[in-house]
């Protein structure tokens, strides 16, 4: 049975056929690895290594400085050659630790398997996740230990594992479900234990029938895990929409999933959690889909975090044609790169090189009020108003039209026949409101 999705949404061509059958391959790490200190939502991590120091695989190189922050570990062994601002995927210069890879991959002595899951207490599991620097690997990179520590007064009823992977091109989660179903389900069980829940749903979009089959077979060996098939529709992988689809409950605006007793965790985050419990190895690599019409070869790679984009692209033989845009993440919510110097970080699920034709940039026209944006908005907003009011700088009206409900999924801009950059208007509007409030204080 396929669970019917939330209201609204779009059906872009999913483009997953190129990579869904490609096995995950290990990508060799290059000579120079770059570790930005901000790979997560929250405070910058603080370096704990010195210039010239020799570090090993899995060794802590930067420490979380706040509760909402995350540890950072080296993914190679080698020498710290610089701690300086480097290009971050988001386009700004961020203080980064640069390590020269010695190609020996000497593993840090501290990396040791943990106790078996049945012996671990919930607090110990959260501590392990925290120390390993695990963050939400669906893209937002919210520190997972924070998510696993909801306020005491909020009772969590169940866990949803997000295997929707609704972005076009992306198959990294799909391959993880196929190749490591045991890891996903083990991680899921560990997180259930940490949260103290007995029921969890692994929600997978119906276009990944093989992954669903594999997970259902493997789930027989685990307690309380139900695999559910959800409608293929963008943005199914959005937290609030997925909860709506799976449970029929809507998270009230301004509230978090924990407020209605649900926690949502990404597939690859589960696999990473399983890995750290079983082997002790912190989060040092992730699965990245390489794709797009301009890329020479489509691939699914296991990439060591810190590998610059240009080294990944060189590995597949560069570009077939001049790319119009190079993205980290999917084409709907990913970020366009300024430069190929930027490294793969914890939240990077894909590197996509789009051709002009795929990017379909086109000419912007006036809004024709076709109301398609209103029909597709999964948050029931009126995106055309953000454009109109944004142009007029009417900040009060923007807020009255609930601009802060927008999660910037891009469905409106995708469907817009006038090719208006609606998400850009929304982001600008939010920033203007925030800065005007700051001034007012």
């Amino acid at each position: 049975m396929i669970l019917k999705a939330f209201k609204g949404g779009i059906h872009p061509s999913d483009k997953k056929e190129h990579t869904r059958y490609l096995k995950i391959e290990d990508l060799p790490a290059p000579k120079t690895m770059i570790f930005p200190l901000s790979q997560h939502i929250g405070a910058l991590a603080e370096p704990v290594v010195k210039l010239g120091e020799w570090v090993k695989v899995g060794q802590l190189i930067a420490m979380a400085t706040a509760f909402v922050s995350a540890n950072l570990h080296s993914s190679v062994s080698g020498t710290v050659i610089a701690i300086e601002p480097r290009m971050h995927p988001n386009g700004s210069l961020v203080n980064s630790i640069v390590i020269e890879n010695d190609d020996k991959y000497t593993v840090f002595e501290g990396v040791k398997p943990n106790k078996s899951l049945s012996e671990l207490t919930p607090q110990e599991i959260i501590k392990i996740v925290e120390k390993a620097g695990i963050v939400g690997m669906g893209g937002a990179a919210f520190p997972t230990h924070v998510k696993l520590s909801p306020p005491k007064d909020k009772k969590i009823d169940f866990l949803i594992i997000n295997g929707a992977e609704c972005e076009p091109y992306l198959t990294s989660d799909h391959r993880v479900m196929l190749e490591n179903p045991e890891g996903v389900l083990f991680g899921c069980t560990a997180i259930m234990k940490a949260l103290g829940v007995t029921k969890s749903f692994v929600a997978v979009e119906s276009n990944k029938d093989d992954a669903i089959k594999t997970l259902i077979e493997n789930a027989k060996d685990f307690n309380g895990i139900e695999v559910v098939q959800v409608e293929t529709k963008y943005p199914q992988g959005s937290e609030k929409q997925l909860i709506d689809t799976v449970t029929g409950c809507k998270v009230p605006h301004g509230k978090l999933p924990a407020d209605i007793g649900v926690i949502v965790v990404n597939i690859d985050t589960c696999a990473a959690t399983a890995n750290v419990i079983k082997t002790g190895m912190p989060l040092i690599q992730r699965i990245v889909t390489i794709g797009g019409g301009a890329i020479n070869e489509f691939r699914n790679f296991r990439v060591r975090i810190g590998t610059p984009a240009k080294d990944v692209i060189d590995e597949v033989g560069g570009f077939k044609t001049e790319p119009a845009k190079i993205l980290f993440g999917g084409p709907m919510m990913g970020i366009a790169l300024f430069s190929l110097e930027a490294p793969v970080i914890k939240g990077t699920g894909a590197i996509i090189a789009l051709t002009d034709k795929e990017a379909n940039i086109g000419k912007t026209g006036p809004c024709i009020r076709c109301a398609k944006c209103v029909d597709v908005c999964p948050m029931n907003l009126q995106p055309l108003m953000f454009q109109m009011l944004g142009k007029k700088d009417d900040l009060v009206a923007l807020e009255n039209y609930n601009i802060f409900d927008c999660m910037e999924c891009g469905a409106c801009a995708y469907i817009c026949p006038a090719r208006l950059d609606l998400v850009q208007y929304i982001r600008t509007g939010k920033q203007k409101i925030n800065s005007s409030k700051k001034k007012g204080e």
Partner: protein, 324 residues
């Protein structure tokens, strides 16, 4: 450092843009145009071509006069021209559609800011303008099969539209065409409104291509049906609602005019209220008003109410409970 092109997400777009939407509307109007030529003869085509060409030319001249990039390639001028020609009788003198196009494009559309900015339906506003200015020319209907001269029609024997016959009065004694005649076409009326079948073929195409949704046309037609069924007969609940749905400009108006993007609400609930409002006003005019036909004025009146309707019907934000 070699910098790449960046922009805000999303990085892919659907293939449908404004010109392809307009092209879809043009395609959807073709069956009705073919039906018009079949029933009214080649003069229907001549009137249509003149209306469309003059609309496009006026839009281009506006751009030239104000030294702005021309907007004719978005094809909206072609759509407006087609719709205006569908709303005038085939017998009009050939300068009349040009006057209509001028009013439609220059006054109603471009003066208010062009595509997407006009507050009333350009084609219907132009029709109202023509009807007020040249009432005789705009209400001279002919029987199907009458041979029409291109430049002068001195001896037209005017006939009545079905709705005028229902209304009684001057045409007392004329016989009503059958339902089937109304459905397949071949009754007196404007160029585009003669064949319900042809209009429905286009409407199905528009719904299939998701250019329009069901909300406005279906509520419009259903409310005309319900209203005329209740109040249209000599006693309550005896009205000939099928006749009211099939006759006149209702199908053309409901699927092609009331759904005009710029002048209809963008909110889903608003579209439903708007459709019902159109249906009720059209029925009131038809049953008790001075005109036999009320669809175009109903749409124009609801156009003006659109901003208000939109304000009153914001979509319920995600996660908000009913009633608070």
């Amino acid at each position: 450092m070699n910098l790449l092109r960046v922009s805000s997400s999303p990085h892919i777009r659907t293939n449908d843009d404004t010109p392809t939407i307009m092209l879809d509307v043009i395609i959807a109007l073709m069956p009705a145009l073919i039906a018009a030529v079949y029933f009214f003869g080649y003069r229907a085509m001549v009137v249509t071509i003149i209306t469309v060409a003059s609309s496009v030319i006026f839009e281009h001249l506006w751009a030239v006069a104000f030294k702005k990039p021309t907007t004719i390639y978005d094809l909206s001028g072609v759509v407006s021209g087609l719709l205006l020609s569908f709303n005038i009788p085939v017998t009009v003198p050939l300068w009349l559609p040009v006057a209509g196009s001028f009013f439609m494009i220059i006054i109603v559309k471009m003066c208010f800011g062009g595509l997407g900015q006009n507050f009333i339906n350009p084609a219907l506003a132009a029709r109202a303008f023509l009807l007020a200015s040249w009432p005789t020319a705009m209400t001279t209907w002919v029987d199907i099969g009458t041979k029409l001269n291109l430049f002068s029609n001195p001896d037209i024997i005017s006939s009545a539209t079905p709705l005028a016959i229902i209304k009684g009065g001057v045409h007392a004694g004329a016989t009503l065409p059958s339902y089937l005649n109304l459905f397949f076409g071949g009754v007196g009326g404007c160029i585009g409104e003669t064949s319900v079948l042809a209009l429905l073929i286009g409407a199905v195409y528009l719904l299939y291509r998701k250019i329009i949704t069901w909300r406005i046309p279906f509520t419009f037609i259903a409310s005309v049906g319900v209203f005329t069924y209740i109040f249209g007969g000599s006693t309550f609940f005896t009205g000939d609602y099928i006749y009211h749905i099939l006759a006149g400009g209702l199908i053309l108006g409901a699927f092609y005019m009331a759904t005009d993007y710029s002048t209809s609400p963008v909110t889903p609930m608003g579209q439903i209220y708007y459709g019902i409002g159109c249906g009720v006003i059209a029925s009131i005019i038809r049953l008790w008003g001075g005109y036999p036909e009320g669809v175009s004025y109903a749409i124009l009146l609801m156009n003006v109410a659109t901003p208000l309707i939109e304000k009153m019907t914001p979509p319920r934000r995600f996660g908000k409970k009913r009633g608070n």
